[in-house]
């Protein structure tokens, strides 16, 4: 068995028993990356030297320290919107192409303290704006299952890296489905955390009200191990939750079945437009979960159809404000072949931003502008309250909801990119979750024409333990998460 085929737990056992070293492990991943990634293009930056340095530090600790964590010495990659000190953090945008932050995101700091090994930074839709990674300012990542198809977005690079065995786990970021969609399209397990569960300090913001950092890995158990390490209150983030972090992996180890759990199926999510294979995979998965002892009930989320317009209005507005700091003055791209400061602003932003980014900035600026604020932004915020209340009500009669992640499997590269509205509509199942701030797990549950299908498990605020338990139990009975794309076994 090859090293990249092991779970985090198995790898941890080998590392702590010193059967392999972190340096060996890291080299193995780096070798795979350099061999396979030119075709997949999941990494923007591969930090070979730094990774090996971190691996050696980890090995020191593994040798001498009793207090090793499950993630000590384990390599990982991070979406390129997460600040890593001294390493390019580009958000896949030309405007930050050579930007090196002088500080680490809190989530990264936590993984430094566990002595995990950062392999590099993953490609994404520019600033997180997109659902396919086609909006990257550099290149489009390929879906490892079929290189002509998108990996999903915006954490497409992170998902592809994990799916292709180029990282045991990755940190992704979910604002409007950006962890769940690519996880679903690439056949891996990805968690959108409760808003505030993981610190946003150092996460380059797209939509401050919705952004979350979440783990992506090959199983719910692996995701749980990462979540334990990165979650927790951060005094530098005023929106970070104060509640203590549970020992998720221990809870998963102890679970035997899903008896006593009520699963809600929102009727608004199983409608026309859903690919018949996606539909049938979901229904089979739900039956599987039922057989584990859960009770299934039908619920309703009546304002579902408004989720997309609400999401886009708020997200455009906040994004337009968050992107104002890219002005060519203190960091990043700066077009100084300019006659005035105004010129610097205009030329820098014109050259640095891609089409989708510009579009969203324009629409967001408009939605907030005088005279339109009430009709657009404020209205959207009010409907958002109704959507949140829909979930609260639904969770009175169930512990979790199950829905598809996407109406289809991964579409072809170039298929949706010409019409932005088409792209927005593919987010129909994922955005409501971000509006309510609740967590949701995407778990592989089928294959259609060689492309993965994902199941979404949503829960109330801070219910990560429940979601991971459902995912874990489901994975103990099924083997979708053990299926891998053709490039998985690509030998030299």
């Amino acid at each position: 068995m090859q090293l990249h085929e092991l779970s985090i737990q198995e790898t941890h056992e080998l590392l702590s028993s010193r059967k392999i070293s972190s340096e060996e492990l890291t080299r193995a991943y780096l070798e795979r990356i350099h061999r396979l990634d030119p075709q997949i293009k999941s990494y923007v930056t591969v930090a070979d030297e730094l990774a090996l340095e971190q691996a050696r530090d980890a090995d020191q600790r593994l040798k001498t320290d009793e207090s090793c964590t499950p993630l000590t010495g384990i390599p990982y990659s991070a979406k390129d919107s997460i600040s890593t000190r001294g390493i390019n953090t580009t958000c896949s945008s030309k405007i930050l192409e050579n930007y090196k932050p002088f500080y680490d995101a809190t989530a990264i700091k936590k993984l430094i303290s566990t002595n995990s090994v950062l392999l590099g930074k993953n490609n994404m839709d520019e600033f997180g704006m997109g659902s396919s990674t086609e909006n990257s300012g550099f290149f489009t990542t390929r879906n490892p299952w079929n290189f002509d198809h998108v990996p999903g977005g915006s954490s497409g690079g992170s998902a592809a890296a994990v799916a292709a065995g180029l990282a045991p786990f990755a940190l992704g970021e979910d604002t409007g489905g950006s962890v769940r969609m690519p996880a679903s399209f690439c056949g891996i397990t990805g968690l959108k955390t409760t808003y505030g569960r993981v610190s946003r300090y150092g996460l380059i913001p797209l939509v401050s009200s919705f952004d979350t950092i979440g783990p992506m890995a090959l199983s719910a158990y692996d995701v749980a191990l990462v979540l334990e390490a990165i979650a927790g209150h951060d005094r530098k983030d005023s929106t970070s939750r104060l509640e203590s972090v549970q020992n998720y992996s221990a809870s998963l180890k102890q679970s035997e079945n899903l008896r006593g759990l009520r699963i809600g199926i929102p009727k608004e999510y199983f409608v026309e437009g859903l690919d018949p294979e996606v539909d049938s995979s979901l229904r089979t998965a739900i039956k599987q979960i039922e057989s584990l002892g859960a009770e299934v009930v039908e619920v309703s989320l009546p304002h579902t159809q408004y989720a997309i317009p609400v999401y886009y209005l708020i997200s455009f507005a906040e994004a337009s404000s968050n992107l104002a700091k890219y002005d060519g003055i203190r960091f990043g791209l700066s077009e100084r072949n300019a006659e005035s400061l105004m010129d610097v602003y205009l030329k820098t932003r014109e050259l640095g931003f891609g089409a989708e980014t510009k579009r969203r900035i324009m629409l967001g600026t408009f939605a907030l502008s005088a005279g339109y604020y009430d009709a657009y932004y404020l209205k959207a915020q009010k409907v958002r309250t109704l959507i949140r209340q829909d979930f609260e009500k639904a969770f009175e009669s169930c512990d979790a909801l199950i829905t598809p992640v996407s109406p289809t499997t991964a579409f072809r590269i170039g298929e949706k990119i010409t019409n932005p509205l088409d792209m927005y509509l593919s987010d129909v199942f994922v955005v409501a979750v971000n509006l309510a701030g609740i967590p949701a797990l995407s778990v592989p549950c089928g294959l259609s024409n060689g492309l993965p299908i994902g199941m979404q498990i949503m829960g109330p605020l801070l219910s990560e333990e429940t979601l991971l338990r459902i995912g874990h139990m489901y994975q103990s009975q099924t083997d979708w998460h053990t299926k891998h794309p053709p490039c998985w076994n690509d030998l030299p």
Binding site: P101, K236, S238, T239, S321, Y326, I329, R330, S369
Partner: protein, 480 residues
């Protein structure tokens, strides 16, 4: 056509906190500190940095709101004010828009026409910007000041003249000093005034176009600037013109306001609630505890001084003009036997003269209250003459020392010995027969001259009262 000025004042005051509004960088004097030393990811707008509210800034803001008679809102929210400017690193300023911290206050000002109430529309918290400087073809940015807590205080347009503007500004300035929330140094820009000025026909209640005058860095500029602008606008209306809504600067040298931009850009700040900061919810009990610990404000102190110390309004006004001065005065009074009025006159006179001439900081008064008290008491009990005491005071300011020691060292003890004085007087009168004749003939002013001679002869030590008494007697004797 008689025109009436309609003026509102906006004041931005930097708060005296140790650290910035949203991060732990130190608040420093941005004029003297080396550039870009007190910065971090938050106050330089690095991608991914997040703000965290400074508790002390909130406390100081509540203090001000209460002192201005405002309603403190137990729930308030922060908002982003979006615009591009190089001293604004995030491309937005975190401020408050809907639901500010405090609204609907009022203060009273003294005008020639009497007491007038000025309504305070709102008091809210925000962050300061960085500092720009310019040379040749470039501008330079220093972010030390970026993120410093700022309090914005806005009045209703209740002010009607430059005098009222000045009265409000000086009163507010004194209150902020009293509350110890701001250092008051206008020249350093820690407190900034902006006037919104419009003009209308007397008797009308409509509001005409207003202009905004920025960067009025002194009370003088504030008064002159508004005065000029009122006149300028009046003249425009008088000849049937239109006043443009614009931002103006004031040139103190020419005494004129000038337009600050070529093409006025539409200010659409696109305010929306700051998603990185949860709503601020204040505990009523906490607000009440701040209210209970408010220091005595200038107005109340003045009334008390007049009553308690039997001072005139003028005397009281001078002492309360600076809280530290008022405190010092009371400390001297508490340590002295002399009447408060006498102490007041010493402080207002000689003491303040040296403080001003030597450019001393009220926060660092070089003379202990106890020592000044002792000196004044020595005058009271005639141990030294008034003029000798002035010499002692000068010495205390210049080189320190205790009054009793200085008197001894300089041999300034007053002489009241009649015999001694009598001898001196006799000599003076004998030496100056012509003057004696002139005095007896009616030239009263020569008395001062004789006193001067006696003072010189005794090196200021002779008790002047006694001297005068004996002199007059001696001269009268000569008449016989």
């Amino acid at each position: 056509m008689k025109y009436q000025a309609v003026i509102g004042l906006e004041v931005h005051a930097e708060l005296l906190t140790k650290s910035k509004m949203f991060c732990g960088c130190a608040v420093v004097d941005s004029i003297t500190a080396k550039p870009n030393r007190y910065i971090c990811p938050v106050c330089t707008g690095q991608p991914g940095a997040l703000p965290v509210l400074n508790k002390k800034a909130i406390e100081l803001a509540v203090r001000v709101g209460l002192a201005l008679g405002c309603q403190i809102h137990t729930e308030s929210i922060f908002a982003r004010k979006n615009y591009f400017y190089p001293d604004l690193p995030k491309g937005y300023q975190i401020s408050q828009y809907d639901q500010p911290l405090a609204t609907d206050g009022k203060i009273q000002i003294e005008t020639e026409a009497g007491i007038k109430e000025v309504r305070i529309r709102r008091v809210h918290l925000e962050e300061d910007t960085g500092k720009l400087s310019h040379a040749d073809a470039h501008s330079f940015i220093d972010y030390n000041r970026s993120g410093v807590p700022l309090l914005e205080i806005v009045t209703e347009p209740d002010l009607r003249s430059p005098e009222e503007v000045r009265a409000y500004a000086t009163k507010l300035h004194a209150i902020l000093r009293y509350l110890d929330v701001n250092s008051g140094d206008m020249e350093k820009g820690v407190i900034r005034f902006e006037a919104n000025v419009s003009v209308r026909e007397e008797g009308s209640d409509q509001l005409n176009t207003r202009t905004e005058i920025k960067n009025l860095n002194s009370f003088r500029a504030l008064t002159l600037g508004t005065e000029y602008e009122i006149q300028r606008q009046g003249e425009i209306y008088a000849r049937g013109g239109i006043v443009e809504q614009e931002t103006l600067g004031f040139n103190e040298a020419t005494g004129k306001t000038y337009s600050q931009r070529g093409k006025e850009e539409a200010h659409d700040y696109r305010y929306f609630p700051e998603p990185d900061l949860p709503p601020l919810v204040l505990d009523s009990a906490w607000i009440e505890s701040i209210r209970a610990s408010l220091p005595e404000l200038p107005e109340a102190k003045m009334r008390r001084f007049i009553e308690q110390y039997e001072l005139t309004p003028q005397e009281a006004r001078l002492l309360i003009s600076e809280k530290l001065l008022a405190d010092y005065f009371e400390e001297v009074v508490s340590k002295s036997k002399s009447p408060a009025k006498m102490i007041s006159s010493w402080i207002a006179g000689e003491f303040m003269r040296y403080m001003n001439d030597m450019n001393l900081d009220m926060a660092k008064i070089p003379i202990d209250a106890e020592d000044l008290a002792q000196l004044i008491d020595m005058v009271l009990d005639k141990t030294v003459s008034g003029s000798s005491a002035k010499v002692v005071l000068a010495e205390m300011f210049k080189n320190g020392g205790k009054p009793a020691e200085i008197v001894k060292a300089k041999n300034l003890a007053q002489v009241s010995d009649e015999g001694f004085i009598q001898d001196i007087i006799t000599k003076i009168l004998n030496d100056n027969p012509k003057e004696v004749e002139q005095f007896l003939a009616g030239k009263e002013s020569l008395l001062q001259w004789f006193m001067g001679q006696a003072a010189r002869a005794t090196r200021g030590k002779a008790d002047p009262t006694k001297t005068k008494e004996l002199l007059l007697k001696a001269v009268e004797d000569k008449r016989k």
